[in-house]
Amino acid sequence: MSAIIVLTAVSLAQFMLAAAMAIASIRMFRGPRAQDRIIGLDTLYINAMLLLVTFGIGTGRVIYFEAALVIGMLGFVATVALAKFLMRGEVIE
């Protein structure tokens, strides 16, 4: 019974997060200016991280947590570098 509840919730959550990723990538491809595309990319990696953690709950393995942590850290660095590029025109001055 508890397995049915958890696995149903995991499937629903994965569906919703995949829909959120699709919406973020629509904005990333369509966004009128560069800053919209960067925020689309930011939302996309946050949602991918949440999807990995949800996948970890569904399969019961702890290894997905580490992948989610790496995605979060690298995504932060990428977004900061892109914002710096928009601001200054170069990343390292």
Binding site: A20, I23, L50, I57, G60, V62, G72, F76, A83, L86
Partner: protein, 129 residues
């Protein structure tokens, strides 16, 4: 190391499912708002729904699930929660300031003037789009 979802009691399964659905649905609502809001400065608010309670709900669900399934406190998911909570305002402030800088340099839209100086920002070399 694997844990099966059949090992946890019923109340824990209900709590885990509740937090998972809250987190995922708030993330989806944030993404829909991100698609539908008209201007950039309004759009930048929407994804923070996913980075505050989306992250919080799913990390709480994961912590409760693994703590009860392995019958010891498993709290390492809080690392992701703290990290994302700290870094999201930084990235969005940087992006909003960059967008404001670009809009001022191109003199488009009705963005507020720079505080303390009445003249407009000089149009220096800013890459467009």
């Amino acid at each position: 190391m694997m844990h099966s979802a059949a090992d946890i009691p019923l109340w824990a399964a209900v709590v885990v499912a509740f937090f998972l659905l809250v987190g995922a649905s708030l993330t989806l609502i944030g993404a829909i708002g991100f698609l539908r809001l008209p201007t950039f400065y309004e759009r930048i608010h929407a994804p923070t729904l996913g980075t505050s309670w989306g992250i919080g709900g799913i990390m709480l669900a994961s912590m409760i699930f693994f703590s009860i399934a392995s019958s010891r406190p498993v709290l390492h998911e809080i690392l992701i929660g703290i990290f994302v909570t700290v870094t999201t305002p930084v990235t969005f402030m940087l992006l909003a300031r960059a967008a404001l800088h670009r809009d001022r340099a191109e003199r488009n839209g009705n963005v507020p003037e720079k505080q303390g100086s009445s003249e407009e920002a000089e149009p220096d070399s800013v890459p467009s789009a």
